[in-house]
Amino acid sequence: MSIAINKRKCIGCGKCRNVCPGTLIKLDVSGKAYIKYPKDCWGCTSCIKECPVYAISFFLGADMGGNGSMVHTEKRDGLLRWVIESPDGKVTNIDIDPKESNKY
């Protein structure tokens, strides 16, 4: 899997670059973020959770059976919302309460 960064949304804060455990994200000459080594992404979603303007999404690579959905997170009212947009336009939202523990 890997990530895609929407340059139009990116405000160049550099937070995604700071957290990436593989140092894979860089800022281009105009100060916008891009992933320099897309094949080296571990899929940890750290960058996605950092982005204040929800400019980063991840997708499952076609080689691991991906179907083209793009996924990002949003922070709303203390909840972490996972937004899964499928290619046919269907959107699934799942809200996670960070104060709630896993049941399994």
Binding site: G22, G43, C44, L60, D63, S69, I84, P98, S101, N102
Partner: protein
Amino acid sequence: MKYEKLTTDLLIIGGGTAGCQAAITVRESSDIKILICEKAHIKRSGCLAAGVNALNAYITEGHTPKDYVEYARKDADGIVRDDLLYSMSERLNKVTKQLEDMGLVILKDENGKYVARGNRNIKINGENIKPLLAAAVEKLPDVTVLNRVNVIDISVTDNKINGAFAIGIENDTFYTIEAKAVMIATGGAAGLYRPNNPGFSRHKMWYPPFNTGAGYAMGIKHGAEMTSLEMRFIALRCKDTIAPTGTLAQGAGAKQINSLGEVYETKYGLTTSERVYGTVNENLEGRGPCYLKTEGISPEKEKSLINAYLNMAPSQTVKWIESGKKISEQNVEIEGTEPYIVGGHTACGFWVDTDRATTISGLFAAGDVAGGCPQKYVTGALAEGEIAALSALRYISENAPTPIPEAEIKAHITETESFLGEDKSVYSTEQLEEAMQTAMDAYAGGIKTNYRFNEKQLDIADMKIRRIEKLSDSLHADDFQELMYIYELRERLTVCRSVIAHLKARHETRWHCFAENLDYPEKDDKNWRKYVNSRLENGEIKIILRELTEEGQRVYEHSHK
């Protein structure tokens, strides 16, 4: 290139689980200088970056550290060190409390007690565990954290540590760091073998692809004794997403079934290696693919699973949603991963004494890089971080620092300059990495051979790895990040050679898949209830067979002390 020389009391290599805890522990009782070098950023580096799903090592009510030691000993079929397991187990609950105080959410019952998952696990929301740990470190007074600084070597004279060398990936700096004591907490090694998804998603692996075995390699090169590197770890994972299966199996009670719908796990046994072995065998005998049976689970369980996976391995949740089917309408296909070297799960790593001192004076090891003490997981890595930190503190008060010889600094600078200099290389680092992974896959028991190997194959693997090592001398880097990639490859090659030597040395098959030697397909308790250790001497790996320590033994000291 810029040059910087730093001096500190304690150098911690790797600001992951064990490294962070070590800094926290030292500051509780001492104001010595602490420097953490972290190749990424401590906020989300190493194993904990994505979050974890449970605390896998905890002494639950009605159990004792002894129970935990016995469980770990059984899982590794005897090749463990009780002194290490006890000293770790006795700290598990204390470090858990510390995590809770940092803000980790732990599930509690109506009486305020932690809710157990099975006998040894407790349930948490572990999505933010690394940011919590990092925040605790950042609050400490006078702890210097150098992020994006990758340690490339240690300096050792007469078997005593002097410090280390590092490169600043984002500031093009070469660091020489003198330290009174050094703690290695670089985690285990991924990327030695060809991964499950070798194409675009090559890094969608279980273990962090950025933990490249640097710590093992530095130790090996300087003659530190290593143990049990033949006890590789292969995880049983959800196919494609490589997401954990424990949450489905132990958590939701899903059974391992073959394509005929038969439950096969009971046929092979339930240790980690047996679960993988059973799956491989069912496939070989024509009853694949294998699954975890989630068909028919309740809607309530379904919702909890969707959420639990988002907190630790979100790809699996996405996979379920993309399939357009409910979890209760389809089983989850499972497979084994490529082999990893990881001392938090098996017993491989540095040969340490009870204080987590390696055989090099002043060099300590904790977490996945330290051997002899399997089933550590997050809390065990924290426990070892504490033990190693306290030992380093004692060492610092008793031993004077020694300088890094000038000639050694020069040699390291020359080496980095040559990689950064004129591009004369035929091959890229990526090509050599692929060559290494392909060789290990085919000849040292990778996925391709269902984890099996024989001596002749290992000899071929060794020959190929040595050739790639030579080729790596003339690699070229355009910038410091590429320079790090060269060092990562060379670390992996060093680890590969030792792994091959260890696999070859154990003339038995004690753990299916982890070390499945076709020349010796049976377990041999009479001759092989031994530690296989090794040390590099004059460029060659010397195997040292050691008798097992006693069950219940609480202290082990290195004989050179």
